[in-house]
């Protein structure tokens, strides 16, 4: 099975620390079915912004959707933590 569908999420943070914490927090959890999907993370600095890039690869759009949805849901919790504490 090949990873025909992929999605790159690009999330801008003001601080390097924030992008890095988000990456560490998210990347701990393994992919439930590694044969069906793959995730990789990268941080870059572009136009005064620390971007967290999350590359998702999946065998189908449905698998891609559930992965992307879960990761963004977690990201929202992470961002809320940054904002409140």
């Amino acid at each position: 099975m090949s990873f025909t569908s992929s999605l790159t999420l690009n999330i801008p943070f003001q601080l390097q620390n924030q992008a890095s914490i988000a990456l560490k927090t998210l990347s701990v959890d393994p992919i439930l079915r590694p044969d069906d999907a793959k995730v990789s993370y990268l941080i870059s600095y572009i136009s005064n912004c620390h971007y967290l890039h999350i590359d998702l690869y999946a065998i189908s759009d449905r698998v891609l959707r559930v992965l992307a949805n879960n990761i963004i849901a977690s990201l929202k919790t992470i961002v809320e933590c940054f904002d409140e504490f």
Binding site: I21, A22, K24, T25, L26, V28, D29, P30, A73, S74, K76, T77, I78, E80, C81, F82, E84, F85
Partner: protein, 372 residues
């Protein structure tokens, strides 16, 4: 030999503070606890600084899906942490360790909470400790009641276990072979379409109080273990025959009668299940030669269960210990307490080891903080 719990007190601090995050099922709990140096004892109690909980409640007749439960936890976790810190008037600098439930429990809800735990740990530079949910119940129960070395009956929606301590492990003497007791009661509540607010089990208990007539049900103790799915199927069948026959809506004047039937069924189910629990608990007491029983877990709040257990225990000249709903229903403070005990023995959980696990047996944990 007595374990030394104070090798890791931070310089300049005179006590330890832990925050605990629990979300293994439909309760989201955040607790803050303080330990003073030295062994915990009646004169050196743990201090509860905050203990906040929010429960995800489903429509009547429905169980809860992990995805909705996870959504509940996700959307409340940051607000609850803030509220707990405000209530305790503490900030990040006061906290020694962030404790979270590693398992057992439902995957998605556990995961939605550990995300917040990891983020705060990295943001505040405070270590993490992953806690076994069952150990949390046991240690909090011991701390609150002062029970020294009890046989523990752990009864909740996800677990039914009789546990006794031996050589730094909480060993499981008997357990359910199929569904948990709380699950059995909840599912019967669904059959009867009883409200889930505040909890289906609580509402069954109230109906059972009004029941008088005992309906014979299968009694399925198997050695040290018990089985409950057959009993549930049996009583569901009775209830469906009585109330849920299509085209046979109860007539106005039959409503009172139906109410009584419901009460009697709830009463009978409780009596039957609780008798089985009493039997295996008594056997475990004889086995380990203990005369203390500690009841923990959500079903442990049930007054009838406590009463039946008390009758058995007083026959053996023993004592029974139970906590109220603040501590027996899932909560964050028990996670903070058990995690802090572990932290005081020098344990922390590295980020890579914070992946939650749905299966995590009580006897997998090395109880370093006890050496009796």
């Amino acid at each position: 030999m007595v374990v030394d719990l104070d090798q890791h007190l931070k310089p300049g601090k005179s006590s330890y503070v832990a925050i605990g995050l629990e979300g293994s099922a439909n309760k989201l709990g955040v607790g803050l606890i303080r330990h003073h140096p030295g062994q915990l004892s009646l004169s050196n109690r743990a201090e509860v600084l905050a203990n906040i909980r929010d429960t995800y409640i489903t429509p009547p007749g429905e169980g809860f899906l992990p995805r909705d439960t996870a959504r509940h936890h996700r959307n409340w976790v940051v607000r609850l942490i803030k509220q707990a810190l405000d209530e305790a008037r503490l900030g990040k600098d006061d906290i020694d360790v962030i404790c979270f439930t590693k398992g057992p429990g439902m995957g998605a809800p556990l995961q939605s909470v550990v995300i917040a735990a990891r983020t705060l740990s990295l943001l505040w530079d405070i270590p993490l400790v992953g806690v076994n949910h069952c150990i949390g119940h046991i240690e909090m129960g011991r701390e609150i009641t002062g029970a020294h070395n009890p046989v523990v009956l752990y009864v909740s929606g996800g677990n039914t276990q009789v546990i006794a301590y031996s050589k730094q492990k909480y060993r499981i003497f008997g357990e359910t072979l199929d569904i948990a007791i709380g699950n059995c009661l909840d599912r019967f509540a669904r059959t009867l379409e009883i409200s889930n607010d505040p909890s289906p089990g609580y509402n069954i208990e109230q109906l059972a109080k009004k029941g008088k007539h005992f309906v014979e049900l299968p009694y399925t103790v198997k050695g040290m273990d018990l089985s409950m799915s057959g009993i549930l199927a049996y009583i569901d069948e009775i209830a469906n025959t009585l109330f849920n026959k299509k085209n046979a809506k109860p007539l106005q004047n039959e409503e009172g009668k139906n109410k009584n039937k419901k009460n009697n069924l709830c009463f009978s189910l409780q009596e039957c299940l609780f008798s089985m629990l009493v039997e295996i608990t008594e056997r475990a007491m004889a086995h380990v030669n203990s005369n203390e029983v500690l009841i923990v877990g959500g079903v442990g709040c049930n007054e009838r269960l406590q009463e039946m257990m008390k009758i058995m225990v007083s026959d053996r000249n023993g004592s029974i210990f139970a906590t109220d709903e603040r501590f027996c229903i899932d909560n964050g403070i028990m996670i903070a307490h058990a995690g802090l005990l572990s932290y005081r023995m020098g344990d922390t959980t590295s980020l890579e080891d914070t992946v939650c696990t749905q299966q995590y047996r009580t006897d997998q944990v090395l109880v370093k903080w006890r050496d009796d």
